[in-house]
Amino acid sequence: MKFTEEHEWLLEEGDLIVVGITEYAAEQLGDIVFVELPEEGTQVSKDDEIVVIESVKAASDILAPLDGEIVEVNSALVDNPAKVNEDPMGDGWFFKIKPADLSPMKDYMDDAAYKDFIGE
């Protein structure tokens, strides 16, 4: 699993990357009450704001970590946004992206680097 500085986790699953937010991010955001997901089939570019999440505190965006196509979204979150807080690293995943090029993955942090990044 890799991590971005925007507190996303990226998990390789075959030729897809599953994307969610880290436990640390979920905790910082607080209770999540709204999730807006992109449409499946959307072509995205790295750093596009593709998911909107709103907690009781504020609205935040999740950025596309790579160029590619959104092939699947976790639509269960729309009716149950609290799932992100309950299981951010598992059932709380947001989308699966089919990257045009996997090579940018090597630039993202590994577990140890991310822990260091958040000061744990």
Binding site: E5, E6, H7, E8, I21, A25, Q28, L29, G30, D31, V33, F34, E36, E49, V52, E54, V56, K57, A58, A59, S60, D61, I62, L63, V78, P81
Partner: protein, 390 residues
């Protein structure tokens, strides 16, 4: 405008703010309880505790929540007699102060020469003096305003007391266990009550829509009192985040957001706070800053009104969201001034200003969120019925 602790941010970046912040007498306790601290009105304040905003909000509505509101300004106005103090205070507020009975409190507003609201406040008749509680972000200006304009009155900021609010349906039982006299108080009563040997100035009021108390306690006794209250299984510490969602559901204004210097009382839906004796035709009509504009707006009806709004979907409509009459085209007709998720309502709730012709409950408007116009329906305030003990 008060510093905003609910700032929207792009991306998931979290920064640390390190400035010279003031602290309240309960600061060490907040840290010990694991609070997430944020700067608010110049103070380092708890925005939430480990339970989180949602749980804190629900707990306050179900049982009792303890809030540190020591950042607010407590001020004593003294003078030759209650009548002289009250008459002087009436020159700054459009409220009936002279008619306020001893041991009673009222909601008030400072107005400016154009009738705009300088701050909202609570004031109480405590026999030989008037006790005023003002917003933290406005307190320096309010104290200067009172000192400059209240003739024959001594304005004394109270700087050696904390202010603790205990709110929720269990508040009476919890506080009465320590001070039985508080059970006999009704909504907006004030009294001096000894709690664990400390002289407390207690009012039966709050900012959540629930029954409860606000307790001014000597700073040296504040932490012990807070700990004593928190020992009760029904009491949970509550941060500014839930304080905001509770007051929003209760339809209460947040100064600097729902009311400010450009807002007159009538359009803000606060005409009820201006007693008849101070309105046109009343015995002591006018005589406060901006009286002409304030009273004219009451008589003629405002062009815009503060209303409650219920977004139909799940997306919260926050402060700054513009309101439109139609799903496409046209100019913005209004704006959200407070909004978020209402944990008790279980859906997003908001307040904002709309033209008077669109202010009737049931009117369907559209709020523009991230470029999309989403429906929201005007709803009567409050969103959650008040639990006051009248």
């Amino acid at each position: 405008m008060p510093e905003c602790f609910l700032e929207n941010h792009a991306g998931l970046g979290f920064g640390l703010v390190m400035t010279d912040l003031l602290t309240t007498p309960l600061h060490a306790l907040h840290l010990e309880l694991g609070a997430k601290m944020v700067p608010f009105a110049g103070y380092d304040m708890p925005v939430q505790y480990p339970a989180g905003i949602m749980a804190e909000h629900q707990h306050t509505r179900a049982k009792a929540g303890l809030f540190d509101v020591s950042h607010m300004g407590q001020v004593i106005l003294s003078g030759k007699s209650w009548e002289e103090i009250a008459a002087a205070f009436e020159t700054l507020v459009p409220m009936d102060v002279l008619g306020l009975g001893e041991g009673r409190q009222r909601y008030g507003l400072f107005t400016d020469p154009d009738g705009g609201i300088l701050d909202d406040l609570m004031f109480a008749n405590r026999g030989d003096h008037l006790f005023v509680v003002v917003n933290a972000a406005c307190k320096a200006d309010d104290i200067a305003h009172m000192t400059a304009h209240l003739k024959g009155v001594t304005v004394t900021p109270v700087t050696d007391r904390a202010l603790i609010a205990l709110q929720g349906p269990a508040a009476e039982a919890v506080l009465a266990a320590l001070a039985p006299a508080v059970a006999g108080m009704t909504f907006m009563d004030v009294a001096t009550v000894e709690i664990d040997g400390a002289e407390c100035w207690v009012s039966r009021s709050g900012y959540t829509g629930e029954d409860g108390y606000e307790i001014s306690v000597p700073e040296a006794a504040a932490e012990a009192l807070a700990r004593r209250l928190l020992e009760h299984p029904d009491v949970m510490p509550i941060g500014l985040g839930a304080r905001d969602s509770l007051r929003l559901e209760a339809g209460l204004c947040l100064y600097g957001h729902d009311i400010d210097g450009d807002t007159l009382p009538a359009e803000a839906g606060l005409t009820w706070a201006i007693q008849k004796v101070r309105r046109s035709g009343g015995k002591r009509a006018g005589g406060f800053p901006g009286a002409e504009a304030v009273l004219a707006q009451i008589e003629n009806g405002p062009e815009r009104r503060r209303v409650g709004l219920r977004p139909e979907g799940r997306a919260p409509m926050r402060e700054g969201v513009e309101l439109f009459e139609a799903e496409s085209g046209g100019q913005a007709v209004g704006r959200i001034t407070s909004g978020g998720f209402g944990p008790t309502v279980g859906a997003p709730v908001a307040m904002g200003y709309v033209p008077a012709r669109l202010a009737a409950p049931g009117t369907r408007l559209f709020g523009e969120v991230r470029g999309k116009r989403l429906p929201a329906v005007v709803e009567k305030l409050p969103f959650v019925a008040a639990g006051f003990k009248r």
